[in-house]
């Protein structure tokens, strides 16, 4: 029991020392980061928003808080819009992937069916000027 208590105390100490300490983050910036993480993990292009937020972070470092806040809000608005588009984007992505896979898997079947036919047509086309002559068999029994 004492061992368990000690373990719990160690875990709590580690947790307390490994969180916080770094720069405080405002609520809109926190929300923007959450959306950026979610959208980028789904493969959405959020490069422009990341650029805007990094510009805002640069302004925070220069203590130009008002301008930085405006940029964060601008990025947040764009991210909220992109977040609304996310289900549609996921569906499109899934359909596109399905279409790509279907294309790849149908190629061998199409090849098996069409290749001999196309080959035969090409073979005949190349020899279209040829004439077929009936050759008399030689009689060697004389």
């Amino acid at each position: 029991m004492t061992g368990l208590l000690k373990k719990a105390l160690v875990i709590i100490t580690v947790l307390l020392t490994t969180v916080a300490e770094a720069t405080p983050v405002s609520e809109p910036l926190s929300r923007a980061v959450m959306l950026i993480e979610e959208l980028s993990s789904e493969g959405m292009n959020v490069t422009a928003q990341i650029h805007t937020l990094n510009k805002a972070l640069e302004l925070y470092r220069l203590n130009r808080t008002t301008e930085a806040d405006a940029l964060v809000n601008e990025a947040l608005q764009q991210l909220e819009y992109l977040h609304d588009q996310l289900p549609q984007y996921k569906l499109h992505k899934l359909l596109f992937l399905g279409a790509q896979l279907a294309t790849f898997f149908s190629i061998p079947l199409l090849f098996y069916y069409f290749f001999p036919r196309v080959y035969a047509l090409a073979w005949a086309y190349v020899r279209r000027d040829w004439t077929v002559k009936k050759v008399k068999k030689r009689d060697n029994r004389r």
Binding site: T18, V19, A20, E21, M34, F104, F111, Y112
Partner: protein
């Protein structure tokens, strides 16, 4: 050349293998996520690290950060001063006030090299300049130590008095 059944079977097998390989390449795979933190010398390369520093004189270093988490993340590098035997571990950051901070949002696969200028004022042997990497946990709304750090031991000497 005549395409008989055997030739057609071999050709179809080759096409089938090529198709399966192509399909396997387009299926998204989840790789092992990781973050990287590197400390570079004054010329922005590995090496040329200062060993002796004059107190009050700025030293130039570069910090390299890379994100391969599979998503964009908000990172912060915090510089602190430690000493021999008093450096962070994989689980615990150094218990010292930050002397320099830099926060950045990096997209997946993106990296950045940041110039750092530090001025050490306290004289002493084997002072550790520690750089810790922190990640912002947006769900919890707080920073979390990633367990990654770099340190550089320097001897800080007294400046020459004019």
């Amino acid at each position: 050349m005549i395409i008989d059944d055997e030739v057609l079977a071999v050709l179809t097998a080759i096409v089938l293998i090529a198709s399966v390989l192509s399909a396997a390449l387009i299926i998204p795979r989840h790789t092992e996520p990781f973050l990287a933190l590197g400390l570079l010398g004054g010329k922005g390369k590995i090496g040329d690290y200062p060993r002796t520093v004059v107190a009050g004189t700025p030293i130039n270093l570069y910090v390299f950060i890379a994100n391969y988490q599979g998503k964009a993340v908000f990172l912060e590098v915090v510089a602190k001063i430690g000493s021999k035997g008093n450096i962070p571990t994989n689980t615990t950051p150094l218990d010292a006030p930050p002397i320099w901070e830099y926060s950045v949002i990096l997209d997946n696969g993106e990296n950045i090299t940041v110039p750092v200028q530090l001025t050490l004022t306290q004289e002493g042997m084997n002072q550790a300049i520690v750089f810790e990497l922190w990640i912002f946990n947006a769900t919890a709304g707080s920073w979390r130590y990633t367990g990654q750090w770099n340190h550089l031991y320097v001897n800080v000497t007294r400046g020459v008095t004019p």
